[in-house]
């Protein structure tokens, strides 16, 4: 066992440093793949205090390579929480006022059961023996976590990108448990182009000889090169041409002239290599396969006879959708089609498109207009919910 354990990407997989909720054989997780996952665990963090009425809970859903450490220093990277610009004491999502929950998704690698977790049946990591996980599976697990807190209705569910997909799934699967929903830079389905990019990433991982059919831990190896390439390709889709031009143009990296070789002559090359290298230090390659697959499989309308409005029929949830002008991964049209469906369902919906050249990743950044929209939406929802300011 020593060798595979040493090769783990991080020490957070089975015994994370965050809070953990473990579900025994009596409480299996029903998966869309048609099997039960049991036992399983959810790693999560909370911030603030749940009020007596249990009406001030906000669930934050993380994106593809995010984790539960939304508003505290990340134990793996040592960096600030991924949404600390938004969430914390006195911030837009004020943890002095709200009880914020964020959990690592099922299939992830920061402590919730995923492909790097130890399979109790074999004593070795699941690898590809873990069934494919869907967005709905993630949400089903989160719902069991919310039950654990005795929260009947979440005040708000919010998230961007893959997190936004979870928000939409929450609102569709458990409308009576979601008072307000804030899906950002997301879509009700993954587009063909997005599936294509994900497939490139997966093929890069699987082409790495160190991948070993997903059993790299047993070989004491990790497909770092493949995963780094996957991250590099994906990272381009999170930015925009304008932002790349603004930041890097054709600038050379620490040199005066082209070297007529294949070193990172350009700053953009060096930047992407750095992104790839730091990523493999924190993320499990198989988990990357599972996360990307979950997004590819997401198609909320298909679950409702092809009519997206039916996914939200009769909903009383208050929605606010946000898109960014330069996001070509989830362009505004994706949000607009959700808005049209919500209009058709008679839902209460706001929709803002934010002008920025920062691409898809804008949702993670300090975007004043985004914060103004979130602030306005959360504020009016809190008044409607009777939460004191």
């Amino acid at each position: 066992m020593a060798a595979p354990r040493a090769a783990r990407t991080n020490n957070e997989v089975d015994n994370p440093s965050s809070l953990v909720l473990r579900f025994g054989p009596d409480k299996p997780l029903k998966l869309d793949a048609g099997t039960l996952l049991s036992p399983f665990q959810i790693a999560y963090q909370t911030y603030g205090v749940l009020n007596d009425a249990r009406s001030n809970a906000i669930l934050v859903c993380h994106a593809l390579t995010g984790d539960q450490h939304v508003a505290n220093t990340n134990p793996v990277t040592g960096k600030p929480g991924w949404w600390e610009v938004l969430i914390g004491p006195g911030k837009i999502i004020d943890t002095n006022r709200f009880f914020v929950i964020c959990s690592n998704v099922i299939g992830g690698c920061l402590g919730s059961t995923g492909p790097a977790s130890t399979n109790p049946a074999t004593g070795t990591p699941y690898g590809l023996d873990l069934p494919v996980i869907t967005i709905r599976d993630m949400v089903r697990a989160q719902q069991m976590l919310i039950d654990h807190f005795g929260i009947e209705k979440l005040f708000c569910v919010l998230g961007g990108s893959m997190g936004g997909m979870q928000v939409l799934q929450w609102a569709s699967s458990y409308p009576e448990r979601v008072f307000s929903a804030l899906p950002i830079a997301t879509g009700a389905r993954h587009s063909s182009q997005n599936i294509a990019f994900h497939e490139v990433g997966r093929q890069a991982v699987m082409a790495d000889p160190d991948w070993h059919g997903g059993k790299y831990f047993e070989h004491g190896r990790r497909p770092e090169k493949g995963l780094a390439v996957a991250r590099m390709a994906a990272h381009i889709t999170y930015l925009s041409e304008a932002a790349l031009h603004r930041k890097f143009d054709r600038n050379l990296q620490d040199r005066e002239a082209l070297t007529f070789g294949f070193d990172a002559d350009f700053q953009i090359e060096s930047y992407l290599r750095h992104q790839g290298m730091t990523f493999v230090d924190r993320f499990d390659a198989n988990a990357y396969l599972y996360m990307t697959r979950s997004m590819d499989y997401f198609d909320l309308a298909a679950d409702h006879g092809g009519r997206l409005a039916d996914a939200f029929a009769g909903t009383r949830t208050r929605f606010c959708l946000v898109s960014f002008t330069s996001d070509w991964l989830f362009p505004t049209e994706e949000s607009r089609s959700i808005v049209h469906a919500l209009n058709a369902a008679g839902a209460s919906v706001s929709f803002v498109e934010i002008e920025t050249d920062r691409g898809h990743d804008a949702f993670l950044l300090d975007e004043p207009e985004l914060f103004a929209a979130i602030n306005g939406f959360i504020g009016s929802a809190a008044r409607a919910r009777g939460l004191a300011s």
């Binding site: 049209h340 008679g346 002008e355 306005g376």
Partner: protein, 204 residues
Amino acid sequence: MSVNGSQRVDLEVVANLIPPQSRVLDVGSGDGSLLELLQETKQVDGRGLELSQRGVNECVARGLSVVQGDADTDLEFYPDKGFDFVVLSQTLQATRNPKLVLDELLRIGNRAIVSFPNFGHWRVRLSLFVEGRMPVTKDLPYSWYDTPNIHFCTIRDFVNLCEELGATVEKATALDANGQKIGLSMPWWFWNFFGQQAVFLLKR
């Protein structure tokens, strides 16, 4: 989408037509003035549709439920009789297809409230008659080449359109240049001459 430079004297007239706790869709909600007024004074369940992204973002930041969209193309997504009232204030003249838009309002709302600047007002007539030029006034501040108001109508024109669409005029108010209501007993021609703005309550 408010395309009229004047102070919105029609807002209060519109608000007075709407009973408390109604479900209201404000088409062309601008900076959200009407929705805010209705939420504060009538506790309505209000939604907005607004063309300009800046207007929408302002509304949402103020806690209003508003989406970016175009009255000409996005009304089709709303269900039949989804609202008690659909309001179109100072926007009809800026739509590409006013007849279709009005038809949609009557489909979506149990009642429709439409306000618009009256192109039959005597100042407009005077400008055309005496100067032979398209009118530029305090209320209609645009020149002909840059105006978003592409489908002006007079009060009489609008009454005809309502008839064509099978809509009943339940209430109509004309406001003079000072924003004062013109007496109810006056005939249409009088309103059409002295009314600077008109507010109609319609049902079908």
